[in-house]
Symmetry: C2
């Protein structure tokens, strides 16, 4: 069985590690917050006192960190100590170009790198139902496949390096646009005197149907339980959606793509974060047009 090093034991990482430990993987874990490490050691996590400890004798390093610069910093710290053939799988959501850079850095050291951002949020990490969107070499993907299976329920090799991040950016940009569209549809319907439950019944079964209305309806008391039923407690916070849309925006600019709805969605979420509403669930964006 492969020996795993895990860097980043926050909301997401701690739950992913727990699944690995339950499946009897040997995992050595590190976080800048010592408490996070201590909390997991009763479950069998081996404590790393520093990044160097994570790199010793591990076959696979998994990173789950807030942004690309932090991933790069961690990687720079350990890259010269890893044995050739070690696989680094970054599950963080980071810039597409940064993911490509990290892949190149690893390649010159004869290390494998996969960008493998997830969807499913904290709930998905806890329940082991994450989806991994993966970019990189097929051999590296195959090496990682059993671990994806332990931490999530689905993974897809989307293409060469950077493709995992690119796919996530596209998906979440579409999610933001559909959620804003759902909000507008309910606002208009309500203003026209419609009962939101009747409107839901049509939208969720007609050509307007989408995950945002069917599974995550932003109107309290309408559709399956969602953050709207808990005063928009996340779920998936507006701040995280803003982060993802900012990654999408950078990709839009880097590739000269015309995507006015995606750009406008990023602006709306930036406004929400500036208004100190970033801790609300992202579906609360629908309230900002009311």
């Amino acid at each position: 069985m492969k020996k795993i090093g895990f860097i980043g034991l926050g909301n997401m990482g701690s739950k992913m590690v727990t699944h690995l430990l339950k499946s009897n993987y040997e995992v050595v874990g590190y976080d800048i917050n010592q408490e996070y490490i201590d909390q997991l050691s009763p479950n069998g996590l081996k404590k790393a006192n520093n990044l160097n400890d994570v790199s010793k004798g591990t076959d696979i390093i998994i990173t789950m960190l807030p942004n690309g610069d932090i991933v790069e910093e961690a990687l720079d710290n350990i890259i010269d100590r890893l044995k050739p053939g070690t696989l680094i799988t970054d599950c963080s959501t980071i810039d597409v170009n940064k993911a490509k850079e990290l892949h190149k850095k690893c390649k010159v050291k004869n290390l494998f790198f996969l960008d493998a951002p997830v969807s499913g949020g904290v709930g998905g990490a806890e329940n082991g139902t994450l989806t991994f969107m993966v970019g990189g070499d097929e051999n590296a993907y195959k090496m990682m496949l059993p671990l994806f299976g332990v931490m999530g329920q689905k993974s897809l090799l989307c293409g060469t390096y950077g493709s995992g991040q690119a796919t996530k950016a596209c998906n979440n940009m579409l999610l933001a646009t559909t959620m804003i569209g759902v909000g507008e549809a309910f606002n208009l319907g309500t203003n026209l005197g419609l009962d939101p439950k009747k409107l839901f019944e049509i939208l969720s079964t007609s050509t307007g149907s989408c995950w945002a209305v069917n599974n995550y309806c932003p109107i309290a008391g309408v559709g399956p339980k969602s953050p709207a039923d808990k005063s928009f407690e996340p779920g998936f916070s507006a701040s995280l959606m803003y982060k993802d849309l900012s990654i999408a925006l950078k990709a839009i600019n880097d590739t000269n793509t015309l995507a006015p709805f995606g750009i406008k969605a990023q602006e709306n979420f930036r406004q929400m974060v500036n208004d100190k509403k970033g801790d609300l669930d992202f579906s609360a964006i629908t309230k900002f047009n009311e």
Copy 2:
């Protein structure tokens, strides 16, 4: 069995009438285009030479016409000749306020009125799989229910008069927004080097999933067969989507609703129609940002 008068025997109406005739309803039909009437008479349609003929002895009048002014004109022509208690069901897509006016006009003459626009397009009319979104009184709805069952597979009483039109406007505004969002996601993904088939695999099963991507993907060769696979032969034309979005826009303005994405979608489709692309399927809007 109720005797039916049917006004408007075009692409949609002709197919709806055919289902009624197959179910042995007595239908007298009228269209300004005499050919349309003649084509249906071998199926058992009784020919009306004018609107007056449609109103004679009929219990239910169904209208399927291009816009609200034409519906009103037809109604004005027959309203004084209809026996009290006659039900007029307008299946056209028209302004929410116009539908409310027509309901009032009927009420003072002791006639019933339902606004009952459909979704499902020409294919749905042909296959009898239309959805009817209905506004009006419950008794009138119940009277109409067997006929909805013959012409379609689903109907929902959305609320009081105007609610059918309001619901359709909300649904189609959401559809337009999601389709534009889907186009942007594929454009960005392609520019980032993703294989559209791989991107489809994620989008259609993740939080970005929506009818527009899952059932009507605007990329040729990706997903189930759709107008994109037939050079954007409609389907549901951009002109019709523009009409529906213009009804939504009027409702947005009448109710002071903030709906910037819906408003922008209407502008995009107006541009498409102005560019003489209105005969293409509405999903071709996704090509205009490329």
